[in-house]
Symmetry: C2
DNA sequence: TCTTTTCGCTTAACCGGTTTAGCACGAATT
DNA sequence: AATTCGTGCTAAACCGGTTAAGCGAAAAGA
């Protein structure tokens, strides 16, 4: 900018006004405007957004924190968030937490240091205080997929209880009575609701058996999922269906079932929370819950921009899922 | 910082020296250091990285440009890149191109505006000039997955020709003679190599039939893939196997084959370039090519940091893939 | 005792933009 | 002729850090 100003014998401020499209308000003559623009093009001038950000206090960047971007579910969600953000002229910094509190804390710190204009995040178990820290800084914030019951934030979630109970209900109606549930033992509303949705329906139908509810430690999941399945297989009173509370548990579980020669649906019926891209090419009958990923992403951006524009009331958006069948 | 300085009756520079860990070089007394640090903690001081970036010329941020982050392959790649970047104290901005040149150009512009310290990108067809633009700015750059033959950049790729020819060779040895290939008509080295690898082997074995090579327009892929499969199904001389050049073509294709009642492997054997997470739960026999995604990501970061540290020689890294079978 | 070092901290320029107040000058108004 | 107004541009402060040069006082050396 200084270079352009010098060459044209004008001031830096004038160049700035022209190049930032404020020539009208700055009352810069048309002829000079053209000369500035042309020279900028000739010199391949690239504006320094860092300087602009420092000056304006706006970075045109939002941060997104997810457990695992390589997970299809979050990958898709981020895709939609990015597309929307791009449309609004915002860039996106994504960070993975691996469901780990320490990583979550670091991620938030990084984003605050980078002065992002807003944060969309999937909260991690026990991250309540960290989320409060963000709020105390008045940084626009939207939680997605999950939320903390004790903090009044804006969130976009799906009704996990409703989806799970409808799915189990469907399975019961198909005649499968002894149904198991495999879930992480993470104390997050979204997950506990999935479990609760199943359990309540099973109880209602009088077919609930506590022993068929398996809780998995996230950090040792592969082994524990396999053990859970072995246990279920060896149940004296035959288990007829398994409800997998997440996509990842499902994939690990079904892979193991194949290895063990457990036939689907002959030996066991399966239900998966979340859709897997590849359902379409597998010829396994899976009842699954399809969350409206695109909608979640778009609503999240919408709610975030509401806040960036100044709104300060928390929005609570609960979306519904579809129960689908893979074949 | 000014606030801390005022409260302690010292200068801003001193606070900066302490908080940026340069107290030793700045010869700041131990006692004062402690007071500064403590007050910073008390006040919940958060450093403004934007200001630091402007001052130092380093943003501790890298940009990553991929065709589609929701694609499992790129999703995983980005995951590994992010983990490595995080380890080195760098944040990552990702942008999708959707294989579109305009989006690619915009993505590069955004990243340059944001003054990223380096860029890792999956090039898009025809983006040669855009890549040259980056190089002319001396911004550290690594291409992954693909590269332009006419530009001497650092790149990390796998040997697509080798992988494809080995996979086809395997299929031929299993006795499948009339083999088709479905690929995008995109003129990118990585893709043309895959096609070439197949064709050369088929020719070598004297079973090449030009009509079995199907080229798909990216923008209209679903319909064209379905048409290609219908054509192959109606071939008078029965087609025995299909080589799908990308994961996405594979998923679309196999889904359609199911709909059409084409049985795998009874009616048709399938080969997929790239692994799909869900192979493990599908009981379809798929011969597939597994690229070393983690290695690509890690090598990319490594090569990028070599450049950030000052190296200016282009590294060309070609990795090998595994041929695997899903069952 | 006088000079040289070392120590502890400050001063102020700088990074590259944005933005407000204001100056100079000609045209319009009174 | 004096005043007001509009136009076109500049000057300079500001955003929040970093950092080289420098300064006074105390310690070490001659």
């Amino acid at each position: 900018m200084q270079d352009i100003a010098d060459r044209l014998g004008i001031s830096r401020g004038t160049v700035s006004l022209v190049l930032s499209g404020k020539a009208k308000e700055g009352r810069i003559g048309d002829e000079l405007q053209n000369r500035v623009k042309e020279l900028a093009r000739e010199l391949n001038y690239i504006p320094n957004e860092i300087a602009r950000s420092l000056s304006t206090g706006v970075t045109k960047t939002i941060g997104v924190i997810v457990p695992d971007i390589s997970n299809e579910f979050f990958g898709k969600m981020i895709f939609f968030i990015q597309e929307q953000a791009k449309y609004h002229g915002y860039a996106v910094i994504t960070i993975n937490t691996n469901e780990c509190l320490k990583d979550f804390d670091e991620a938030v710190t990084i984003l605050m240091n980078k002065q992002v204009d807003g944060i969309i995040l999937v909260p991690v178990e026990g991250g309540n205080e960290i989320v409060k820290k963000i709020m105390s800084r008045k940084i626009p914030l939207v939680l997605i997929d999950r939320f903390y019951e004790d903090i009044d934030t804006t969130y976009i979630v799906t009704d996990n209880y409703d989806a799970s109970s409808r799915a189990i209900e469907l399975i019961l109606n198909e005649g499968y009575k002894r149904n198991a549930v495999i879930c992480y033992d993470i104390n997050l509303f979204a997950l506990t609701e999935r479990k609760k949705g199943c359990i309540d329906v099973l109880k209602k139908h009088g077919v609930y058996d506590e022993r068929l509810i398996k809780n998995i430690h996230y950090d040792n999941q592969e082994i524990e999922i396999e053990k859970a399945i072995t246990d279920l297989k060896n149940e004296p009173d035959k288990v007829e269906a398994i409800f997998f509370c997440t996509r990842r548990i499902f994939l690990t579980g079904v892979k193991y079932m194949h290895q063990q020669g457990i036939h689907i649906p002959g030996d066991m019926r399966v239900i998966c929370f979340d859709e897997v891209d590849a359902f379409s090419f597998a010829n396994i009958p899976v009842t699954y819950i399809k969350q409206p990923i695109q909608q979640i992403g778009e609503k999240a951006i919408e709610a975030l921009f509401d806040q960036i524009r100044g709104s300060d009331q928390a929005e609570h958006i609960v979306l519904n899922s579809e129960i689908k069948f893979s074949l």
